[in-house]
Symmetry: C2
Subunit: 140 residues, 2 copies
């Protein structure tokens, strides 16, 4: 008798997607790991109001103009943030998180929290691994 697990449910969901949709799903998940994506989204979420490009640039410490522009474009393309341009001089552009962007953050948060809570276990695993590696190298 085959054991039914949640992997089967997840697999069934995956199989129900077209190839395009599967690719897109991967893309979205992959983007979560792009260096700045989550940081930018959480800055916009915490702000609770639209932010100008330069405010985001300040708050996302260490990001370059180029990388921020790219990150914001991707987020806009996926409907996770909005971009509003004002025909003024000097130009003003405001970015805000969308409802689906907030949903996304809400779904990422439990995972992130779990990893953060488990960080000690990962550290320990690395110590064990690196120690074992060192002794292998010592014996050469």
């Amino acid at each position: 008798m085959k054991k039914i697990t949640k992997w089967d449910e997840a697999a069934a969901l995956c199989d129900s997607l077209s190839e395009d949709q599967d690719t897109l799903t991967r893309e979205i998940v992959t983007r979560l790991a792009d260096k700045w994506t989550l940081w930018v989204m959480s800055v916009l979420a915490e702000a609770g109001e639209p932010l100008r490009f330069s405010r985001v640039l300040e708050q996302v410490e260490g990001v370059s103009q180029k990388s921020l522009t790219k990150t914001l474009r991707q987020l806009e393309r996926d409907g996770l943030v909005t971009r509003k341009m004002f025909a003024e001089v000097p130009p003003r552009v405001e970015y805000a998180i969308t409802p689906i962007g907030v949903e996304m953050l809400e779904h990422v948060e439990p995972l992130w929290s779990w990893v953060a809570k488990s960080v000690g276990r990962f550290q320990q695993a690395r110590i064990v691994f690196d120690t074992a590696k060192d002794s292998r190298e010592d014996s050469l």
Copy 2:
């Protein structure tokens, strides 16, 4: 009066981490997006028993030997899979997922499912974005 949101909780958790721990947390989350990591883990999880290197290579369609080796090493280093070598000729090496690896998958699964379920909304957002872009370009 300041609105208390779950972002504050998450932020508090983040702030409680040392810089090392924060870096490690990022690294773990980042790894989730490495092309093969989740696929390898789910193959090992679904197998329910240790798998040889070549079995994994077969089941993770499209992965190169080099990338698979690297992925498995990282997973081993973080304690997410185990590697067991047998002193035989020809050599045999078996990989298996660990309890913490299973936990990780369990925490990733809801996020993945949500993205998969929301894929239609992302597709729609892209269509809107790309259409708007095209008309901007047309008007040049």
